[in-house]
Each structure stands twice: as structure tokens, then as C-alpha cells.
Symmetry: C2
Subunit: 303 residues, 2 copies
């Protein structure tokens, strides 16, 4: 047995792939499963051990990262037929890095504990580039034993780990706050870039100036260049924020809170998805607003 326990990663999307490659780079033996054969082939080509089922990847692992998209997928890969929990050894740490409602995370953590597993509620933030560099930020809550056992693995994938509580749920709540802001800021970035273009401003100059002013945001700095360059290669797709702002909206409803800004952003993401842009980069919200304004942004063609 190696000094650092074997890892498994379920879900090799932009965040999961970055985490998996970061684990490999740290010298940790890493197994993975994804439903997409090309994602598995890429992982294997980078030195990982690819499997055609979640159970296959998890068997023998000490720490299992879940980078799937939503609560239904967690249900499927962990608790479903051929799922992970049936083959995992006692005390295996399940690191749930999924953006989902806190109630889902809490319920999953309870079922995992009942099955003799350890669990960390551990959503991540920072984008695909940081994920690939092993510099992602991790919001985490769960028992000390889970933190201890997964410490080398978290160190491999994360620039910062924020331990928030010993109870699962706190990190998922924090992630929703982050997604509320991130979703609104993407929509604001799109709206600002379209108004700038309509005003006749140079979009690269806008990026440079605003990045130094009080209008700056992480999302403006990250997504703004996609719009200025007309490059909508999906780093994070429109559909992700349709989902995430839906979770924010549901959480707000359950708490009796009012989220008009998140609702406004959600409307735009839903409109973009309904117009066939769901798999494009989320900066493609700008196309919706450009069309409304009757202008063409870089990369747009007369429709």
C-alpha cells in the first residue's frame, strides 16, 4: 500500500478532470469513471486507471471524489445498481464536490454514514484553469476523521481548503451563495459588454479598464475575454447555471428569502438554453442581449 491512499474520481467534467489530473500529478494512484468514453481515454492517456463503472473505480479506493453534475447522478453512481457504496471499504471518504441543494447533501451524508463511510461536503470553485493547476478553492464541512484521511488528496487538488463546520450541509450552503453571485456576475458581464459594444467602445479596452475599477469581478475577468474574443468554447456551459440558479431559487423559496437579482439572471440563462445555447460557454448570454439590441458581437454572424 502506498503512503497516500488510492483515490477515485467519478465524473471527469472540467472540474473533475482537473482534480483527477492534479491527483495523478501529486503521485496519488487514481482510478476514474465517466459515462463518456473519450473522457476516460484522455484520463488513461494521462496515467490514470479508467473504469467502465463507478463500482469498478471505487473498489479499493480510500478517498472517492464525486464530481458529477447533480443529486440524481449522485444517487445513481453511489447508491444505484453497480454503485460505489456497495463495493467501498468501511471508512472510505466520499468527497461530495457537487453543486446541489444542502438538503440533498445532508441526506446523502447520512446514508453514507449509515453504510459505514466517511463523508465530506466539499463543493469547489475557481474555474477549469485552476482545477487543472490543482489550485481550486474547496469549501468543506464534515467530521474531522474525514478531513484527516482526505488531507493529502485535498492538498493535491486545492489551492485553499476552507473548513466550515463538522456537519455536512454548511459547505453546500456556502456554494449556493457563491453560485448566486457568480450567476449574477456572468449576466452582468454579458449585459455590460453588450452595452459597451452598442456604445462603440473597444471591448478589449473595456476589459482592461473595468478590471482596474470598482466594476471588476472574478467573472468579468474570466468570462469577459470570451465575449471580446467571440470564443464560446464551453469551459462552463449555460446549462450549468440554469441548474445552479434553480437550486438557489429553491433554497431562497424554502428560506422565505427574496432573490430578484438571481431570478433576473436565471431568466437570461433559461432564455439562452431555450434558444439552443445550453451547451455553449455561459458567456453566450451576451448573444441573447446582443440580438435584442440588434448588434453583432465578435464571433456572431448575421442570423
Amino acid at each position: 500500500m502506498t503512503k497516500t491512499g488510492v483515490a477515485a474520481v467519478i465524473g471527469l467534467g472540467s472540474m473533475g478532470r482537473g482534480a483527477a489530473l492534479s491527483l495523478l500529478r501529486a503521485g496519488i494512484k487514481t482510478h476514474a469513471f465517466d459515462i463518456r468514453p473519450d473522457a476516460l481515454a484522455d484520463f488513461a492517456a494521462n496515467g490514470g486507471v479508467a473504469h467502465d463503472s463507478a463500482a469498478g473505480a471505487v473498489k479499493g479506493a480510500e478517498v472517492v471524489f464525486l464530481f458529477v453534475v447533480n443529486a440524481d447522478q449522485v444517487e445513481d453512481v453511489v447508491f444505484g445498481t453497480g454503485g460505489a457504496v456497495a463495493v467501498a471499504g468501511p471508512g472510505t471518504v466520499f468527497v461530495i464536490s457537487v453543486t446541489q441543494g444542502p438538503a440533498s447533501t445532508i441526506a446523502q451524508a447520512r446514508r453514507l454514514a449509515d453504510a459505514g463511510m466517511l463523508c465530506l461536503d466539499a463543493p469547489v470553485s475557481g474555474g477549469s484553469a485552476k482545477a487543472l493547476a490543482g489550485e481550486i478553492s474547496v469549501m468543506a464541512s464534515g467530521p474531522a476523521a474525514a478531513f484527516d484521511r482526505a488531507a493529502p488528496h485535498l492538498a493535491a487538488i486545492a489551492g485553499r481548503v476552507f473548513p466550515l463546520s463538522d456537519a455536512p450541509g454548511a459547505a453546500s450552503k456556502m456554494k449556493l451563495i457563491n453560485q448566486l453571485l457568480a450567476g449574477v456576475h456572468i449576466a452582468a458581464t454579458a449585459e455590460a459588454m453588450v452595452l459597451a459594444a452598442a456604445s462603440g467602445l473597444d471591448l478589449h479596452q473595456v476589459l482592461k479598464v473595468i478590471g482596474d475599477c470598482a466594476g471588476a469581478s472574478w467573472m468579468f475577468g474570466n468570462r469577459g475575454p470570451h465575449i471580446a474574443d467571440g470564443d464560446y468554447t464551453p469551459h462552463s456551459a449555460i446549462d450549468i447555471f440554469v441548474k445552479d440558479l434553480g437550486i438557489v431559487s429553491d433554497a431562497a423559496r424554502d428560506l422565505g428569502a427574496s432573490v430578484p437579482m438571481a431570478s433576473g439572471a436565471r431568466d437570461l440563462f433559461c432564455e439562452a438554453a431555450s434558444q439552443g445555447l445550453g451547451r455553449e460557454d455561459d458567456a453566450a448570454l451576451a448573444k441573447i442581449l446582443a440580438t435584442r439590441a440588434g448588434i453583432l458581437l465578435p464571433g456572431m454572424i448575421q442570423g
Copy 2:
């Protein structure tokens, strides 16, 4: 005559005061006018020369900074009875650091040129702390002669100067883009902090974590602490963004552009103003949303 020409500052609000004190600190003789006697007394106590009219402050100045609130005030202090342009020497540089519609700036610049003056369209950004430190960012457009003559003065007040064009108007357009983003981000910050409080998260922990994640923005970092600390001392008041988002809205209408996020934020600022919060710090938007959610934030008392 000193090597660097005498300066005048009209309007000693949070940005004007910071600029005026930065000019003094750079060894530039500086005159000022404000309608508020206490602002003038503070300026005089810091080594400046206080005047009871704009004309008094401007007479003999080579560079005149306008830090008033809106286009009407520019009209008043520059072109009105006892206004600046009547006493200014030929070639005086008027630096218009006012957030107003580009059409207003362009019209003022034309009238100033007709009167033999130089003019820079030069809105600023960065907040009161940077203004006081002489580290504000300046977006500027205007003729090279105006840039040249005002260069030492701009260096005294600014951390960065972005020369955008030789025509007034470009900088005002850029400032509107900044204000669109800034206003939306303040509203998003308020909404996120209220949802976080309703979720039971520790607000100072939220500031720390989100500041390191993709939900970060300049405004979240600047205004978020006001909410977590319950301190609504006005650094920038609700009323400012009622005005600025109104200008954004008018500009968007004129350009045929759609700004749903800015409109949503504007609704919140207007609601806050109508509830008597207009003179409070703009972070007080959070109080509106907290009341809707039926929770109390730090510093709020049972109403």
C-alpha cells in the same frame, strides 16, 4: 508661479475630497469650493484654500477638477451666475469627473472649447479609500494638450490613468459600463449576504470564503463588510446609484439595448430610497431584502 500649476476642486464629496487632499499632499497649491461649510472647513484645516463660490476657487487656477454630482450642478458651477468659466484664464483645463450621460459631457466640452478652455472627460473609480490615498483610477478622453497640462495633477490623484480617446464622451461611456456592473454587484452582494444570513452561515466567514472563489467582486469585497459589520456609514450613498443606474437606463434606451440586470438593481435602489435609506451607504440595500425575508442583519433593530 510654482512649477506645477495651481489646482481648483469643485465639490468635496468622498471622491472630490480625496482628490483635493491628494493634490495638497503632492505639493500642488489647491483651492476649493463646496456648498457645505463643514466640507470647506475640513479642506482648509488640511492646508487648502477654501472659497465661498466656484468662481472664487477657479480664479487663477490652471486645472479645475469638477467633482460635483450631476450635469445640473456642472451647469450651475461652470456656466451659471458666478460660475467658473467667466473667471477662468484661456487654456484652463476643466477635468470633468462627474458621472453623467455622455451627451452631457460632450455638450459641456464643446461649450468649454468655445470659451477658449481645454477639457478632459475624466470620471473616476475606486472608492473613497483609494481617492484619499491618491490611488483612484481615472478613465479619460480629450485633447492631448489637456492631458499634457493636467498630467502632474492626474498623477497626484490617480493610481492609474486610462487615456481612451482624444474626444470627450468616450470616458463617460466607459464610466457607465463600470456603474452598470458596480450597481448590479452591490445588489448581488446585498442579496447574497441576506441569503447567507437566512441560511445560518457566519457572514464574516462568507466574506473570507467567497472573496477567494469565483463569486468574488470588487463590490463584494468592499461593501460586504459593511453588511457583516452592520455599519452603514455612507461612503457612497443609495441615492448615487439611483442616479447612476438611471443614467445607465437612459443610455441603454437611447442605444436600443436591454439591461435587465441593471433594471433589477435600479428597482432595489429606488425601493431603498423610497423607504428613507437614500442617504445611507448603498450596502443598506441588504436591509430591504432582510426585511422581505423576515430576518435581522447585524445593526438592524426590530422594526
